[in-house]
């Protein structure tokens, strides 16, 4: 059977908006759910946009897929509204607790089943940075993959990709199809679906695949299939805020005086046991001395 149109597959992943402050779970192994804002990974949406542009110019079809619980349907519907023809969600609670290796097995199997000409996704996740699963899946399948992609042109079973290189340099590389392309978040501006497209997306059924559709054994998925050890999270070490340290070239006596006149709080006047009225008067004097009240304007 001859393929009539270029088939493209886009992986959409969920990330947490890193702007609200994150809290670690009590056991230190994860991030607390409460207060988190979940969004579609921006780099994945860029990858979808690139796939849509390629599909528009080459008469191709785009399938979006996500791995996760039913809340990811929102992201898939966004993909449908942007123009994808098919949406697929793959999930079984047993897939939880996996690592990049077991997730790569899932991606690998999905790509293996759908056999797309091009597999797109983002280069990095907004919250966790690099995700090795798509590249690992491609490597396992023997498909070439290009990271940090910015633009793509396609001709004669081959893609030419403009990609970011070191220190802001740009590089053009070519790869034979089928291949995998991992796009940067700033490679393009994802299209903004209109109201009609959003409403149309609600009528399209999202296919849900479970373990039987994938034909994979549970022992290689999720936590049992994980090879990487899990370690507790901790906040990164803060770089010291620069403060003046005693000059080693000064005589010891001068260093002592420097230290005793410094400290985080000045010694003088840090404790006052006075009445409320006196406190108000003292504060007034301080504010006036600091120029916060009174002065020229008064």
């Amino acid at each position: 059977m001859t393929k009539t149109a270029m088939q493209m597959l886009v992986l959409l992943r969920e990330t947490c908006d890193p702007k609200p402050p994150a809290r670690l779970t009590a056991d230190g192994y994860g991030v607390r759910e409460r207060g988190l804002r979940r969004i579609a990974n921006p780099a994945d949406l860029c990858a979808l946009e690139m796939a849509m542009q390629l599909a528009d110019s080459n008469n191709g079809t785009v399938t979006v897929f996500a791995i996760g619980p039913d809340r990811l349907d929102d992201h898939l519907r966004l993909g449908l509204a942007m123009g994808a023809g098919r949406a697929l969600r793959v999930w079984n609670p047993a897939f939880q607790g996996g690592d990049a290796v077991s997730e790569a097995r899932l991606v690998e199997q999905i790509v293996n089943i759908l056999e797309p000409d091009l597999f797109f996704t983002g280069s990095r996740l907004l919250d966790r940075g690099g995700d090795p699963a798509p590249a690992l899946a491609s490597a396992n399948l023997g498909r070439p993959y290009v990271t940090s992609a910015l633009a793509i042109a396609c001709s004669d079973g081959e893609v030419e990709v403009l990609r970011k290189s070191d220190r802001g340099a740009r590089q053009r590389v070519r790869a034979m199809m089928p291949c995998t392309l991992l796009f940067e978040a700033d490679s393009c501006e994802p299209r903004y679906p209109d109201q009609d497209a959003l409403i149309r997306s609600l009528d399209i059924t999202i296919e849900v695949w479970d373990r039987p559709e994938l034909g994979l054994c549970l022992s290689v998925l999720g936590a049992p299939g994980a090879l990487l050890g899990k370690d507790k999270c901790s906040f990164p070490r803060v770089n010291p805020k620069r403060i003046v340290t005693p000059d080693a070239n000064l005589p010891a006596f001068e260093r002592i005086l420097a230290l005793l006149s410094g400290g985080i709080k000045p010694r003088q006047g840090n404790v006052h046991a006075v009445s409320t009225a006196q406190t108000v008067d003292m504060l007034y004097d301080i504010f006036e001395a600091e120029g916060l009240i009174g002065g020229g304007g008064a």
Binding site: P240, I243, I256, V271, A273
Partner: protein, 653 residues
């Protein structure tokens, strides 16, 4: 949570500490027969109960030649292990990690205790002990290494989570590192590499003994602050090299030496957080977790230091001696309940300095946690009507404790605010933090349900009429009315009158100091700050004779000299005389017996002792069911005794 950084976990080697508060090593004198005692267990256990993430024990000696003081635990004896076990089991039940500090004090030892020569890198006597040591031979260094290893094995068998080697202000290791104390010409002296050789041998020996899976850290002296000694730049280099050895897991810090002990244990006059610049300087250079210790007595400052990345762990020592439950209160946001340390150094360092057991002016339960610790206060079996007269620290504590036990308590004070003599004492130069004693307790008195009647001068008749079951008299003391001939003359004031602004003073003042404590020196400084020309005459060898143990003496003298105050010691003042502007002082030298006269002065200020205010007590004696008197109205002493007696009586009524 209010303090996100302070209550985040921290890894120290293989150990994870639940928060960043470390109860730092310090002497306690609780050891019995050079072994850890039950008192140690309850003392450290109370701080674990209070929420400290890490506790490091006081220094434990590693060798018989290391005898800095008599009640030192000797970790090289296997007999310490059962005691260690009891302590670590007790502490671990509160999810607190516990490290043991090992040390050899080198030249900073007293050979008269061990009856052995003191060992050091070179025969340089320590400024405090003044004993010329034996320069260690290579065999001696190797023996200390072996003993470090033996002691470390005992630490591990004792159930500790880690070991800290003392390379700080009082240690043989620092003496090897410092050009000030290491004059050796062999492979252990001279270049930095050579000076680091012996300390590295100690570290290696301990690492070999405890294994790779046991946390091992060092406590470094960040800056010796003495000419010719180690400075921050050199210590940064040393820390980088120790880190590069890969043998240690953290760097705890101290400062100074016995040449400048007032920096090791900064008193009220040193700024809060005075060592932060040094910790930040070390942390800039190394990746290992760094501790910062030194007058960080509140969680807000601790959080700031962590948030600014100036340290990874906050060492709190006196802050947790004073309030073992500071971490828990901070975590729960109960900041108003924290009893802040004021660094008066009287109960802790002051008592240690004269070889007594550890105490705290504001926390009478220190060292008596078994009897008086958290959870030991029982409700009173019979509710009584208790009246406390005198709202100084003693009266406040008595009222608070009685109130907590469920009694119906009323506290009377003749002044417009609680605090008693503290309100006056805190007006002395640099003594304002002394007032925190009152601020700490005011809230607690209210919370205990005590009714406070201010500006109320109660008489014996009123109290008897009110029908109290128990009366506690805490009326304090006042300056002696006639301490010396002529003291009732014009232009003669006592220190309280000066500090309270009741004295009309000229420019030239003579202060007669029989006190030797802050009462005199802080008043002299108070006057000097006002531009007065102050001369002090005292009976002791030097002014501020009582300020040595609390580490206040050096800086007090430095400040007074800087402000132009002059001194005449050794004088027994017998008479003061003259009119205002022509006051004179007559006395004799206690050694030569030569009489002399000083003057003329505009005014004289006397710090010549207190007398009890006991009238109310004797008016009530024999007429009340239960009558107690506490604090200065028993005998004029210092604030620690007033609080101690107030606490005790409040528990017992």
């Amino acid at each position: 949570m209010m303090f996100q950084n302070l209550f985040s976990p921290q890894k120290l080697g293989k150990v994870e500490v639940k928060n960043r508060i470390s109860f730092q090593p310090h002497l306690t004198n609780f050891a019995e027969n050079c072994l850890p005692s039950e008192r140690h267990m309850y003392y450290w256990g109370e701080r674990a109960k209070g929420g400290a993430g890490l506790i490091t024990t006081e220094e434990m000696s590693v060798h018989p030649t290391d005898t800095a003081y008599e009640k030192l635990v000797e970790a090289f004896h296997p007999e310490v292990i059962p005691g260690f076990r009891k302590i670590t089991d007790y502490v671990h039940q509160y999810d607190t990690k516990m490290f043991c500090q090992l040390n050899h004090n080198g030249q900073q030892c007293d050979g008269s205790i061990s009856r052995l020569p003191v060992w050091a890198p070179s025969p340089v006597p320590d400024i405090l002990f003044r004993e010329t040591p034996k320069a260690m031979e290579i065999e001696d260094i190797e023996e200390v290494c072996r003993f470090f290893a033996i002691s470390a094995e005992h630490v591990r068998q004792g159930g500790f989570d880690g070991v800290e080697l003392q390379f700080g202000h009082s240690s043989l290791a620092r003496q090897f590192l410092s050009p000030l104390t290491n004059y050796r010409q062999d492979e252990f002296g001279g270049s930095l590499e050579n000076r680091m050789r012996a300390p590295l041998m100690f570290i290696k020996a301990v690492r070999r003994a405890v294994g790779d899976d046991f946390t091992l850290g060092i406590r470094m002296c960040a800056d010796e602050m003495i000419p010719g000694g180690l400075d921050l730049a050199q210590v940064q280099e040393i820390c980088v090299l120790f880190e590069a050895s890969g043998l240690i897991d953290f760097v705890d810090l101290s400062i100074a030496t016995f040449y400048n002990l007032y920096l090791v244990e900064g008193s009220m006059h040193t700024p809060l957080g005075y060592t932060i610049p040094l910790a930040a300087g070390i942390r800039e250079k190394i990746e290992l977790p760094v501790f910062c210790t030194g007058r960080i007595n509140d969680p807000v400052m601790a959080e700031k230091v962590l948030a600014a990345g100036q340290a990874d762990m906050i060492g709190m020592c006196r802050a947790l001696i004073c309030d073992p439950f500071l971490p828990k209160k901070a975590e729960e946001g109960r900041l108003e309940d924290i009893r802040s340390c004021i660094a008066c150094n009287q109960g802790c360092i002051g008592r240690m300095g004269v070889n007594r057991t550890l105490g705290c002016v504001q926390n009478p339960a220190v060292g008596l946690e078994k009897q008086w610790g958290e959870g030991t206060l029982r409700p009173a079996p019979v509710k009584k009507k208790v009246m406390v007269v005198g709202g100084g620290p003693g009266g406040m504590w008595a009222a608070k404790m009685a109130g907590r036990r469920g009694h119906d308590v009323t506290l009377y004070d003749r002044n417009e605010a609680l605090g008693g003599q503290v309100l006056t004492a805190m007006k002395g130069a640099g003594r304002d933090e002394f007032g925190v004693i009152i601020r700490n307790e005011k809230e607690q008195v209210d919370k205990a349900g005590v009714k406070v009647e201010l500006e109320t001068e109660v008489t014996a008749e009123q109290l008897l009429k009110a029908g109290a079951d128990t009366i506690i008299v805490a009326t304090g003391s006042k300056p002696k009315a006639h301490p010396v001939g002529g003291a009732d003359g014009a232009g003669v004031y006592n220190v309280w009158q000066v500090l309270d602004g009741q004295a009309e003073l000229g420019e030239k003042i003579c202060l007669i100091d029989y006190d030797g404590h802050h009462r005199a020196t802080a008043t002299a400084e108070f006057l000097a700050d006002q531009g007065k020309n102050v001369h002090i005459i005292c009976s002791s060898l030097f002014i501020g004779a009582e300020l040595g143990p609390t580490q206040d003496l050096y800086l007090t003298r430095q400040r007074l000299l800087g402000k132009g105050v002059t001194f005449t010691p050794d004088i027994a003042v017998m008479e003061v005389s003259g009119d205002i502007g022509e006051k004179s002082v007559k006395g004799f030298n206690v050694y030569s017996n030569a009489w002399d006269e000083w003057g003329p002065y505009d005014n004289l200020v006397l710090a010549m002792g207190q007398e009890v205010d006991e009238d109310l007590y004797f008016a009530l004696k024999g007429k009340v069911k239960e009558l107690y008197r506490i604090g200065d109205c028993v005998a004029p002493r210092k604030v620690d005794m007033a609080i101690w007696e107030g606490h005790k009586v409040g528990r017992e009524v």
